[in-house]
């Protein structure tokens, strides 16, 4: 009896020590919170958000657009591609987006490039929430206009005319875009991008980055 008690106490100490060790040295608490608890993997909940293509001026909580968006809007629309390492939907969308813009990079890279699309420029910014910087990560809830809180998410920011001023105007699409095939997903993205380029051309003259 005594021996087993000593072994049990030793096991509790080892497990507790290892737990405290992993908590303090490996950032695992923050990663579990940010990567699993707070951000939904949309394919895992067996649901697909209804993609509403409507553009809006209103960010979540009226947060100001980040500097990297307002500056890049001087060149053309901005396409923000939010993703994470472990997410089935992200894997479906990743090659489609790369093919659409004819670009090549790794799933865990931080990547951005100004690409030519439909006779216009688009600044493509890839944000893998598991491997990114704060300023990019913080933009994720800001553009989550339908309050989905899940990945993958795509935000297209262009310019729109609002009561006498030209302001950033955006829409956000979610998941695998609620269409069944890769061709349809690509076509839907192309359609939204074309629309955003047209709006940009109409409004760019009046744009003043703030």
């Amino acid at each position: 009896m005594k021996r087993s008690f000593v072994l049990q106490i030793a096991a509790v100490i080892v497990v507790s020590g290892a737990f405290v060790g992993i908590l303090t040295t490996a950032d695992v608490y923050e990663d579990v919170k940010a990567r699993i608890v707070e951000v939904l993997c949309l394919s895992c909940i067996k649901l697909e958000p209804k993609t509403i293509q409507e553009f809006t001026f209103k960010t979540v909580d009226d947060a100001p657009h980040p500097y990297f968006v307002t500056e890049n809007l001087t060149k053309g629309p901005v396409f923000l591609h939010y993703s994470e390492d472990v997410c089935a939907g992200c894997e479906v969308m990743f090659p489609i987006v790369k093919q659409l813009f004819n670009i090549e990079f790794g799933k865990q890279d931080m990547f951005s490039k100004t690409v030519t699309f439909d006779h216009g420029n688009i600044t493509y910014i890839y944000v893998n929430l598991d491997h990114t910087i704060d300023i990019l990560e913080n933009s994720f809830p800001m553009y989550d206009k339908d309050d989905i809180g899940g990945l993958p998410m795509f935000t297209i920011i262009t310019l729109g005319y609002d009561h006498g001023t030209v302001r950033p105007y955006f829409t956000t699409l979610y998941g695998t875009l609620n269409v069944p095939t890769d061709a349809e997903r690509s076509s839907l993205l192309r359609e939204v991008l074309t629309e955003s380029i047209e709006m940009y051309q109409q409004n760019k003259a009046g744009y003043q980055p703030t």
Binding site: Q8, V15, F19, I22, D27, I45, L47, V86
Partner: protein, 269 residues
């Protein structure tokens, strides 16, 4: 206060604790039981999801492997599988459906099936689920368990659909997951604690700790009358008089309360 009533209060308190996300408390811990982080009220992550993440398509992340294992290991060493009987919200649900399952159990067909020798081997299904559907498929193919998990469906998918009417549509996993969910509901209504007995991968992780846990149930066999009241009442269908640190025991204490000669006791160490 009756012991089982105390356990019920404890389960209810822990159910609300597990759902403090409803008031904004989101943590980076893993539950030591089966509950889905997709639940809008969840405070923590499902340990199965963290384990799947750890080996997802050969991207080995030792932190996500060790973290839930250490949490489960701590509770396993101290209380064995008592987590299943005292804390798991799915356990509470099965406690609710247990009344129906006990009625079904008295049916001759159910008694014949329950006494069949295959039944004890079926209990190994949960270990198979843990190894194959949690680890191997995540390692080689991608999420399988998470995509069809009936508990995720119950506490994640359905509440999200109810709380966000018109915002979501089912994806391609939904029909399969729905069929599995219906089977899960049927199972827990016809077999008491059917999910815990045969399929729960967290139960598979906690079960072996019963062999070494500080808290366990001891049957004093020499004085036992072998009246089998304990076995009859056991929600896990254990042959209690012949039990010694059984991995299936969830330490619910029903046998302890029911033993007419008080020969079954909770033991520490």
């Amino acid at each position: 206060m009756k012991f089982q009533l105390k356990r019920l209060y404890f389960q209810i308190i822990l159910f609300f604790t597990a759902n403090l996300g409803a008031v904004g408390l989101k943590t980076g811990f893993c539950y030591p039981f089966f509950y889905c982080q997709a639940c809008p009220a969840a405070t923590s992550a499902c340990p199965i999801r963290a384990l799947e993440n750890s080996v997802y398509k050969q991207s080995f992340e030792w932190r996500f492997l060790l973290y839930p294992l250490l949490i489960i290991g701590f509770f396993g060493i101290t209380t064995g599988r008592a987590i299943c009987g005292w804390a798991c919200p799915i356990g509470v649900l099965q406690r609710g459906t247990g009344r129906v399952a006990r009625k079904v159990k008295r049916h001759p067909i159910a008694q014949r099936l329950g006494a069949h020798s295959v039944e004890k081997y079926l209990r190994y299904t949960k270990y198979f689920m843990l190894i194959v559907f949690v680890f191997l498929t995540s390692l080689l193919i991608g999420f399988i368990f998470t995509d069809i998990c009936p508990v995720g469906m119950l506490v994640g998918t359905f509440p999200i659909l109810i709380l966000n009417p018109g915002k979501f549509v089912p994806n391609y996993f939904f029909p399969v997951a729905l069929v599995i969910f219906v089977l899960f509901i049927t199972l827990i209504f016809i077999i008491e604690r059917g999910w815990c007995r045969y399929f729960c991968p967290v139960g598979a992780m906690l079960g072996p700790f019963n062999k070494i846990s500080m808290l366990h149930i001891e049957v004093h066999t020499k004085e036992c009358l072998h009246c089998n009241v304990c076995s009859d009442i056991c929600p896990m269908g254990i042959d209690v008089p012949n039990m010694h640190r059984d991995p299936e025991c969830i330490l619910c204490g029903k046998c302890v309360s029911s033993c007419p000669t008080k020969q079954i006791t909770f033991e520490k160490v």
